[in-house]
Homo-oligomer: 329 residues x 2
């Protein structure tokens, strides 16, 4: 059971709730995009988005210091290039924008086509592709490199830079420095649920957990017996450590994200286990945030992102105050 | 399945996660209380709390401009008077405090005994009891008048007054003015879950919803067939309207709270329905907030609170910036 009216109108009904609750967010007519009506248009606008089903992503990050607009498509399906073009034109009159795109083939295609189209009209468009997921494909063991929760950290750090007046070349350089330093991996006890459907995209046997799940209900790299939060924290940190090669004293940011169906108590127990394990490592936790940021439509699970704060300005950017729906200062 | 280690240690493990994630929150030794280590002790400290199981209440509201300390007890069981006394002594050296208590017999007893004990030591203690729930007892049809999600609004408005330097008498008067203007009612599809238990405190037949549920898994005043978010919004608004007697032009604050197991999409659809229905009334929505504020341990449901903003200063207080874990500015 879900608190909806009709499955077919659920996304549009929710979007109406969003714009009524946050009147500074204006819907772009004919799309599921919202833009910041308070944007002064004197800095480079950041545009994010992707499929719906990831609430509070991406609309929850629209506001001064993060995104200027977020373009949502249907459930787990990116917006069309035309929607993205319309959003850019609604958000800015300055013929420039910077896109933050999650590394899924269809997302990259839509945002890429929109960038081409806008460039042909004389726009200056920068793009970065977030590929923070370190999970591997079950069959080939090839890294999937999807864009997942780390995308929210990219919104925040690029958002702070854009607000300070960074130009598109500077944003592109910052993104290039940032991307290799963000690693994310998740687990869950269930798949995702589509609006109006009570079944999940996958179901596990009792006491089993799927490691390396995606944000569209993808099953992950391994299903294993579930024993405790602490062992999951060890598993995920182990995978991140393998891909990172920490140096003594490395300053880290820790970002723990509910995939949608996870209680705050569970989030906090996992946060305790992760932080206690990291205290045994030769690293310094300089920043941490725990909550519901980029979900997989009600999935009961969590993702862990670690960002190595190679540049002290990134910490300032994470700490900078913003006024958006889904980021607590 | 839950992301915990052992059921017996779940609350303490979560509290460790809370203090590691929010290092400004210091645990009061021997209790499940936290206080704001940055508190300057030059204003009246506000003390809230109650049973555990309501995350992010009440620890999520500790910080400048809201609570100075939050005292949590075991699951759905208030802290002891001794815990409350210890918390006051840890939070302040000024021999004064103001308690915000939810209207449950055992909560009122614990905080009352703590107040008596502290007064006998020369403390000046003010108290207010929040009784915003307009649900009725199923058998007697007598109003329950429990303290529920509206308590968070009391934290915020009294918190702003305390930060501005209100004394205990002024806080007491403000609370007395505020209380009759806050009405809350909730619904859910399930009861609450205790840590380590997969069963719920009550289960409903498919396509049934319980109206008037409490925040401890109490079943509510009526179980009825579930049809849509909009009809639930009508039912709850109808109940609130009966108890309010709105006047044309009344300025309202709307506060929609997930009881723990409710997706953001569902929250936003219900928020849309409530706000659209209210637009048909002769009232003015001046403020709204939607999110997860005071939960009932994973219950799949929502509560709706309406606060009539009889004093314009209350709106300023709701809008005042704070830095706490669970309130977005």
């Amino acid at each position: 059971m879900q608190i909806i009216n009709e499955a077919a109108s659920a996304l549009d009904d929710a979007l109406r709730g969003i714009t009524l609750t946050y009147p500074q967010l204006h819907q772009v007519p004919g799309t599921r995009a919202v833009f910041d009506s308070r944007f002064q248009d004197d800095t480079v606008p950041l545009i994010g988005g992707g499929g719906s089903g990831h609430d509070p992503a991406h609309w929850g990050y629209v506001g001064d210091g993060m995104l200027t607009a977020a373009v949502m498509g249907p459930m787990f399906t990116p917006p069309t290039a035309a929607d993205i073009v319309a959003t850019v034109k609604a958000a800015t009159k300055q013929k420039r924008a910077f896109f933050i795109v999650k590394n899924f083939q269809s997302d990259v295609a839509s945002f890429g086509a929109a960038a081409s189209s806008l460039r042909s009209e004389g726009y200056d468009i920068g793009t970065c592709v977030v590929a923070d997921d370190i999970s591997v494909d079950t069959g080939s063991l090839i890294p999937r490199r999807r864009g997942v929760a780390g995308t929210v950290l990219v919104h925040k750090i690029l958002g702070a830079a854009a607000r300070r007046g960074a130009n598109i070349a500077e944003l592109r350089m910052l993104a290039a420095e940032l991307m290799p330093e963000i690693k994310t991996i998740g687990f869950s006890f269930s798949g995702a649920r589509m609006p109006g459907h009570d079944d999940y995209s996958f179901e596990l046997p009792p006491n089993a957990v799927a490691c390396g799940v995606g944000i569209h209900g993808e099953p992950g790299y391994r299903i294993e017996p579930y024993t405790s939060s602490e062992l999951l924290a060890r598993e995920l940190l182990g995978k991140i450590r393998q891909s990172f090669h920490w140096h003594p004293g490395d300053p880290l940011a820790v970002f723990i994200n509910s995939l949608g169906g996870t209680a705050v108590m569970e989030q906090m127990i996992f946060a305790s286990d992760v932080q206690q394990l990291l205290q045994l490592e030769p690293v310094a936790i300089q920043w941490r945030k725990v909550g519901t940021f980029l979900t997989s439509s009600g999935m009961h699970g969590l993702s862990l992102s670690i960002l190595r704060l190679s540049d002290p300005k990134w910490l300032d950017a994470l700490q900078a105050e913003v006024h958006v729906a889904a980021w607590m200062n």
